[in-house]
């Protein structure tokens, strides 16, 4: 009995002593003044504040149990990763298109079931979104955050960029993608672009053979986006080139990035996107809800050879 008591006492002492060790960001964190999302109706902003702000803003409202070591280390890592992926504290410094992109990203995280994390809602049940909250968000987005196409601008050809720099992670630009097949197209009313998703011959064969889970090594997708422009006939056409994004499958070479080489070249000068080698963690974070589909969002068309 005495021995058991000693053990319990030792554990209690260790737990108490452990409280002296705390994650730096939590021990130095200062309570932030509540800030709402400027320009967003209060009831919509409230949903994001309640469900997302603890990990996706500087406005972290820690409960007593979040502060206990070792739980606080888990909380700190959630906040660290959360802010890296999406930080509502940046809201006031962002232009409207970036704000809209942030909101769509947040909503899609919610709709995919990824967010809020179930480990978080288990202890913070108020963060769990109700059906009426999701309906409110969808309704607000469809009525207020639908991008309008610009007016058509007359263009004569498109100068080709002769030398395109590699992506910061070493992925090289593949200039021949325009001769590949279109495995889908997308009307992105969230950001006013229209897209063609090109697939190389290996991708097209994999689709036809039904072998896309996982996609075979050598598969390449090129997702190309243009600004939506409204023609005189009222139809919307592909206007100014916005960007091309590549996903290159090589399970061995790209083992550290979920088997894919990720790259994006932006604008008519094809400038590589990303500041550091690890910029592609951003790509993976966005594609994470599709991990059961080998990180691919596109539901492709089957392109049959009629002669076979």
């Amino acid at each position: 009995m005495k021995f058991k008591f000693k053990i319990i006492l030792c554990i209690a002492c260790l737990v108490l002593l452990a409280q002296l060790i705390r994650p730096e960001e939590l021990s130095t964190a200062k309570a932030q003044t509540a800030k709402t999302l400027t320009g967003v109706p209060k009831e919509v902003a409230n949903v994001f504040e309640t469900s997302c702000f603890d990990c996706h803003s500087a406005q972290t409202n820690l409960r007593w149990f979040d502060k206990i070591t070792p739980a606080n280390f888990l909380v700190a890592s959630h906040i660290r990763d959360g802010r890296k992926a999406l930080d509502f504290s940046q809201w006031d410094s962002l232009a409207t298109p970036q704000r809209n992109a942030m909101l769509y990203f947040a909503l899609n995280g919610i709709l995919s079931g990824e967010m809020p994390l179930s480990s978080y809602t288990a202890l913070h049940p108020s963060a769990k979104l109700k059906e009426k909250d999701i309906a409110l968000l969808k309704n607000y987005f469809l009525n207020n955050l639908v991008s309008k196409p610009g007016d058509a601008v007359s263009r004569v050809g498109q100068p080709k960029v002769k030398e395109v720099k590699n992506s910061p992670n070493g992925v090289a630009y593949l200039p021949g993608y325009r001769n590949w097949k279109a495995i889908s197209s997308t009307d992105r009313f969230d950001n006013g672009t229209i897209r063609i998703i090109f697939g190389n011959p290996i991708a097209v064969k994999a689709i036809h053979d039904g072998k896309t889970k996982p996609w075979p090594d050598g598969t390449v997708f090129a997702k190309t986006a243009w600004k939506q422009e409204k023609g005189k006939d009222g139809n919307v056409y592909a206007g100014q080139f916005v960007q091309v994004e590549f996903m290159i499958k090589d399970a061995t070479r790209y083992a550290g990035t979920k088997g894919w080489g990720w790259a994006r070249w932006k604008g008519e000068n094809l400038l590589p996107y990303g500041k550091t080698v690890k910029f592609d963690s951003e790509c993976i974070s966005c594609h994470r809800p599709e991990r059961n589909n080998d990180y691919v969002f596109t539901t492709p068309l089957d392109i049959k050879d009629f002669k076979k």
Binding site: K138, N179, S185, D294, F306
Partner: protein
């Protein structure tokens, strides 16, 4: 007795074989894929994608495809040369279940073909898709409209 036994077990064997061959993998947008249609001389989806467009009122989206002669226009500012064949495939749009904020092709509404022969003579053919509705499209001079669709250019 033997026959009944064999007949009884046969569906299970067929089911087993089908089960083994079924595609456990990925999602494929089969509805939007162009089937082997006897009236279509070739599969337009096999050609080079040249342009995309949206028709908001009809809630449709189209892709313009071209053969190797027509697709030279991706790099050259010129008219369609003799020998060009282009297809305009138009789908009904549907919400993308993977991304709120996007629409993707649903069923094919129409397929239109314009070809230019060696003498520069143009001809137009219309193929009705399963999602076609009376009066959905096809206003005006379709041949001219299709050939004037702005090419989606890239650097």
């Amino acid at each position: 007795m033997k026959l009944i036994y064999t007949g009884g077990i046969l569906p299970f064997i067929i089911l087993f074989i089908c089960g083994c061959n079924s595609n456990p993998s990925g999602r494929i947008n089969r509805q939007a894929s162009v089937g082997n249609n006897a009236s279509l001389p070739e599969n337009p989806l096999e050609m080079t994608p040249m342009a995309v467009s949206l028709q908001a009122e009809a809630k449709t989206m189209s892709t313009l495809y071209g053969n190797s002669i027509a697709s030279k226009r991706l790099n050259e500012v010129a008219n369609y040369a003799p020998g060009s064949v282009v297809y305009l495939v138009t789908w009904k749009e549907k919400a993308d279940s993977e991304w709120f904020g996007a629409r993707i092709p649903d069923r094919v509404a129409t397929i239109e073909r314009v070809s230019i022969d060696g003498k520069g003579q143009k001809s137009y053919t219309f193929f009705k898709g399963p999602a076609w509705q009376e009066g959905l499209l096809l206003k005006g001079d379709r041949e001219a409209i299709i050939l004037s669709i702005p090419i989606a250019t890239s650097p």
